[in-house]
Amino acid sequence: MNALAPVLASVSGTDFIQNLVSGLALGSKYALIALGFVVVFRATGVINFANGAFVLVGAYMTYQFFQTWEINFYLSILLAMAFGFLLGVVLEALVLRRLVGEAPFTVIMVTIGLLFVMDNVVTAVWGATNLDLGDPWTGNVVEVGGVRMSHRDLWAMAFTATVLAAFLAFFRFSSMGLAMRATAADPEAALAQGISARAVYRVAWGIAGLVAALAGLTFATGNANIQPTLGLIALAAFPAMILGGMDSPLGAVIGGIIIGLVQQMTELYAFEYLEWAGRNPQTVAPYVVMIIILLVRPYGLFGTPEVRRV
């Protein structure tokens, strides 16, 4: 910590804590996206690039329900989540269903293809300019001990905590959660026990769409924050997921928070100490952290090392 001391001293204490809180909030948003990745990976073993597009669709659908069709804000969120669930289920039924048992390469490429199709359809439908969600949270701030926390950030953190708790409970206690774990561990043995792999995959994709829509909402709040680049911003949740080790919900949340904190702190210290790193180093900081961590721990911080049998 001694090496960091002069760095920390240059920024005042409240400033630092303020940024810590902002980083935490940003991190919980990434965590929410990463949770969507994790649920698909856990059940199907697929890295779902299309999740980035689910996030985008979620943000724009909330806008559509709330602003265009003037439905109650909280109801709009629920409707957008329901839409996300449907989107996930439909894509699974139309496309991913046909790829069960294919090489990971094929499935990854298909989800990348879907990402590009959906991202650009969204841009075509809603236009390339930023849209304003006009949510009731923006502008409202709570002050605790000199640290200002916006309602948006508090809601984002609350959502993440709730989803994480729901995930843990779901995998631990529900029969569907158990079926998912069984299918992930050994699809054939699970089938022999009477578990429907189709139902498991369908539900996993549905949940991914639902959680991604919620994540999209958390990024959409604020002034004119709905933009087509959200789909690419969502890709920064990949490092979060990798840090956490791909198959652990808790790991995804911790990974997300690390990425959020790193990004916020890079932004804070960029002017003073990271001049050599160019402008906006925080945009690439997640990837740098990811590469460093992977060099030290190839299976992430909380991932299960892959055992290969001959």
């Binding site: 650009n120 490092p239 160019g278 690439v284 990837y287």
Partner: protein, 380 residues
């Protein structure tokens, strides 16, 4: 090699043109007279196309196809032959383009110096990043190379003394001569050619060279090792393939091809800016490999024809009666997609459709048609 029962051609000529007597027959690049005939046709087209009817704009498109095909051959060596998925191809193409800008245009190195330098730089960077391919299997590699694209764009944006930053950099006046032949305006046999014509000669010759190189690589020891790694890396390791060397080697070679394509596209467009080398470019290359046919060299060329052809088609017909309502060309136009969006949607869609219905791509269609005719009248 086990002796085959038939070691020599029986009296009265070969029983069939396709009869393979020897392993060497199997490996021939130009196995029969049809292939050699095809080669003559290609050589004829190479001379005839640029000197006759085709306009400069048409030649530019054809040159773009050749340039993209060189890069796609590189990615195909990595993805199609070694089975490693990379989304980082755009980064290495960018390295090539900026090498042309800095070494070629700004430092005024001769073509025969900055081209190899750019390729070596690509190979070097590939070899540095390659070890990730080793340590990280399958899934992780995709995401690390995804990070590479973003890191690359960041470097291109911020290393302003070399790359010109966000505004990009002009690539003008870069030397393009090989010996007495200056490809920025060829003068040969008393006639002068335009820049487009000269460029066509240069890039298609280089594509032929690249294809020959790749074709020879995949039938060498290294190439067989790559395919063994693709089919099952564990088994490959057990029969004595050095996984580390093969994967890193494949990554480095593919990066070299990408850098070469980058130099040529820089010379063609005469401009490079960070946004040219984004994720979309990587996806475009992946789409070319998948559409053309992973694991075949001529598939990469077919894919380049298809993808660049579609792009040209859209931009050419974007104002026509039947494509006009779909495509928006200006701010006041009511079309649904912009040209770029339509391209992205189509390529994403093509990737999905081809992987679902024809995973071996256009090349498989061609091979199937060929097999049908070769086995006639017993085709099935």
């Amino acid at each position: 090699m086990a002796a085959l029962p038939l070691r020599s051609v029986p009296a009265g000529g070969r029983p069939s043109r396709q009869l393979v007597l020897d392993y060497r027959d199997d490996l021939r690049i130009f196995p029969d007279r049809w292939a050699r005939f095809g080669l003559v046709v290609l050589a004829f087209l190479y001379i005839w196309l640029p000197t006759q009817e085709v306009s400069d704009a048409g030649l530019r498109t054809l040159s773009t196809i050749a340039i993209v095909a060189i890069g796609a051959i590189g990615l195909n060596l990595l993805t199609g032959y070694t089975g490693q998925v990379s989304l980082g191809h755009a980064f290495f193409v960018g390295v090539g383009s900026y090498s042309a800008a800095y070494l070629g245009a700004a430092q005024e190195w001769p073509f025969l110096l900055y081209m190899p330098a750019a390729i070596l730089l690509g190979v070097f960077l590939g070899a540095v990043i390659g070890p990730f391919a080793l340590r990280l299997r399958g899934h992780y590699l995709v995401i690390v190379t995804l990070g590479l694209v973003f890191l690359g764009m960041h470097v291109f944006r911020n290393w302003t003394s070399v790359t010109g930053g966000n505004r990009g950099t002009q690539i003008r006046g870069a030397d393009m001569s090989i010996g007495p032949l200056d490809f920025s305006g060829l003068e040969l046999f008393g006639s002068t050619f335009t820049r487009e014509q000269s460029m066509f000669f240069l890039v298609w010759a280089l594509l032929a060279l690249a294809a020959l190189l790749a074709k020879n690589l995949v039938r060498s020891r290294m190439g067989r090792a790559m395919q063994a790694v693709r089919d099952r890396d564990l088994s490959a390791e057990i029969i004595g393939v050095d996984l580390a060397r093969t994967k890193v080697g494949a990554f480095a070679i593919s990066s070299g091809f990408a850098a070469c394509a980058g130099v040529l596209s820089g010379l063609q467009i005469r401009f490079a800016s960070p946004d040219d080398f984004d994720l979309f470019l990587s996806i475009e290359y992946v789409a070319i490999v998948i559409i053309g046919g992973a694991g075949t060299i001529f598939g990469a060329i077919l894919g380049a024809f298809f993808v660049i052809g579609v792009e040209e088609f859209i931009s050419h017909y974007s104002r026509s009666e039947w494509l006009g309502p779909v495509v928006r060309t200006g701010p006041g136009d009511s079309g649904f997609f912009s040209v770029g969006e339509l391209n992205a949607v189509l390529f994403g869609g093509f990737i999905v459709v081809f992987l679902l219905f024809e995973p071996r791509g256009l090349a498989a269609l061609w091979l199937r048609a060929k097999a049908w005719f070769l086995t006639w009248p017993f085709s099935y």
